[in-house]
Amino acid sequence: MDVSQYLEIFLDETNEHLQNLNTQILDLEQNPEDSDTINEIFRAAHSLKGMAGTMGYKRMQNLTHDMENVFSEVRTGNIKVQPEMIDVLFQCLDALQEYTDNIKNSADEGTNDNEPLIKQLNDILNKKGGAPAPEKEAKKEKASKAKAEKAAPAADAADDSAPWYKVTYDESQISVLKEVEKQGKKVYALNITVNEDCVLKAARAFLVVKAVEEKGEIAVSFPSSQDLEDEKFDNSFMLIVVTDNKLEDVIKAAENVSEIKSVEGGVFDTSKLGGSAKAASEEESAPEDKGAEEVVKEEEAKPAQPTTAVAPAANAAAPKAKDKKAGKPIVNRTVRVDIEKLDSLMNLVSELIIAKNSLVSASTGTQNNSAFNEQIEYLESVTTNLHESVMKVRMVPIESTVNKFPRMIRDLQKTLGKKLELYMSGEETELDRTVVDEIGDPIMHLLRNSADHGIESAEIRAERGKPETGSIYLDAYQDGNNVVIEVRDDGNGIDVEAVKNKAIERGTITPEQGAQMTDKEIINLLFLPSFSTAKKVTDVSGRGVGLDVVKSKIEALSGEVEVKSQLGVGSTWTIRLPLTLAIIQSLMVVVGGEKYAISLGSIQTIETIEKSDIKLVQNEEVINLRGMVIPLIRLNEVLENESHPVDEDSSVVVIVKKGDKIAGLVIDELIGQQEIVIKSLGKYIKQVKFISGATILGDGEVALILDVNALL
């Protein structure tokens, strides 16, 4: 089978599963007996194995197979979760990631068999059957076992009773079945197993259901028909069929569907449904609920584990959290869309907005046509909404990127020999997809930086009266038109003197310059290329390639990075990113006869200032606005053109703000607010620092967009 067309889906899903596994195994480390987590891990590993097998990646399949074996033993309670085992599992995940990366780069998984890992996994397997599980343990085991069987009934085919007696039926189902049995109709049970390498299991299930329905009526299906449709089953599912036909006919009908491995069938005897069925008042997922309840209680009883508790598991796990309450998985109906298609949709919306702007500017000439103007206004609101919707489609939570960090910090603990705890908040904060993809590395670097340079060694921490465990915080939140991501630690902070001495030593600055520089300016030296104050180069950071890369990467995303630090107390790194990349609300202004756009997000107020109110402080022009002294920037000087103010005696000043910095931009004239589409100036025109792009106005003219952040 040619699978190359599935490669992209494969990579996407593999990454999702790996991320999920990482999160879940971290979870497992904290709560080694959480059956939900174990099941989730098992499921993810199983899917991975199946996918790798389908795609023909044998090494990957082998490794996941052995991992799955371990999980399966954990699930049945034969093996207890040990810290060493978690380490091995993480190494396996790294190996899998390596395979995935290889596949991504070359469509080939590489030649590393990872035999030592497989051996370690087998060692774990062989050590099983240690201490017998205590009674309480056993109870839970049962719960998880019941669930396990539901998920993979075929796995225990060797068991005495047929698989269909092992699942739980609710009362209404039982009464229906008993009723039809009384009527003398035949009730058969079918256990259908799909080929392991089947790509579209749901489709196969659908075909089987359809074929069987021709022979009779399906009374019950396991899992439910909704779950079948959503592919929420392993490789097999069960159907209870009410029919007048012979059993063989029904089996044959099911077998005729391709990619079906086996169909096991038998006469269904309702009397065999014992009292246990009556006890189960809810749906078939009842035992699962019980298990979940137990787990919830347990979680409450345990001391809070903020990292793992806060970190919501990626994708698949999210609905899982809900189904603890609801008892039924809530399915998000999603479609995977190529980002390129979204880009082209975005471009079309941009074109539409430009066209709309043209209409608006054309309509300003024609007065007294209220119907026309009404329609234009309507068009405006529609295009604005359309734009917002398209933007929303492109927005994804940063979760997918930040979820790998708890794992990273855990690994760092071991490499650095420090106790670290990562607290995350705001993972649900959404950003443009392209930004989310790019932002991972810079954040990772800052976190590593905090862990390595920021957090002190245990002895120093004890001396300073700080808790032994160093805390690193990763907070994300939306602030107006920006998304702010903060990396904070309670470590040593930046030693400004050390940075200064280093800079002087390296010849970056002269001692005289150093004496004049503010602390902030000195700290900013850290962002220069090849600057590292680490006394020794470690594996983690300190090679001097880092903060400058962080800065340039973030600036490439039209964002900025700042650092605040207090020696001995800690540092805060703040990354500020624009929420939207393509279309913004802006204020159009005129400077020296040329039109410029300023992003509305950074504008505080617009003031008319009398000439006499402009004062000179240290040879800089400032104004005193409601008790605040605000420096003025004459835009015509920055833009190198001649100012033609409308009124000689007063100036229009746009007060702009970035973080805690504030300034007044002196302009000639205001045009008004406008929604603009940001266009790049292209690579040919070398980045002009304070121009963030250009836009096309309604009349077809090009106006440049001022980057306020670069002006301040």
């Binding site: 266009k679 790049s680 002009v688 077809g700 003219e701 090009v702």
Partner: protein, 165 residues
């Protein structure tokens, strides 16, 4: 086709083209001051009339600014300034030639006038060897003979190479 309607002189007949067996290249002949130059037609996407160019501050002087070409913002470069001639004077004949070559960004170059399209056989083109020792920027890729006239063929890579100033 709109680009062709803007060219002042006649186009070569399509019939001519098919008869020629040897490899031929087509060049658009443009005027800069008193000189005539040829630009390889394969790199020309469009020829448009002069339009308002938005100045971009703090860029090299030969970058005139940016224009809106069907919703795209593209830079416009003055060939005159790039070649060290006097600054452009916009007339009715001034055109912006939109260049597009593979791997490069679309850009416009200002020319005083677009004259005609000529078809040159490869045999009629004499390549100019680049003198690597000379610091003088090279603007020409060769010289073509057409109707006993010599046409200097512009080397387009020069517009994308930055000046040192």
């Amino acid at each position: 086709m709109d680009q062709l309607s803007l060219i002042n002189n006649n186009l070569p007949d399509d019939g001519d083209e098919t008869k020629v067996v040897a490899a031929t290249l087509q060049y658009v002949v443009i005027r800069l001051g008193a000189e005539q130059y040829g630009i390889d037609i394969r790199f020309i996407e469009n020829i448009i009339r002069m339009q308002r160019v938005t100045r971009v501050p703090k860029v090299a002087n030969y970058i005139k600014g940016v224009i809106n070409l069907r919703g795209e913002v593209i830079p416009v470069v003055s060939l005159r300034l790039k070649m060290g001639l006097e600054d452009d004077e916009y007339t009715r004949a001034t055109r912006i030639i939109i260049l597009k070559s593979e791997g490069e960004e679309t850009m416009g170059v200002l020319v005083d006038e677009v004259k005609e399209v000529v078809t040159l056989s490869e045999n009629d083109i004499e390549k100019i060897a680049h003198d690597s020792k000379s610091n003088k920027p090279m603007f020409l890729s060769g010289v073509g003979k057409h109707n006993n006239e010599l046409i200097s063929l512009l080397d387009l890579s020069m517009v994308t190479i930055e000046d040192n100033d």
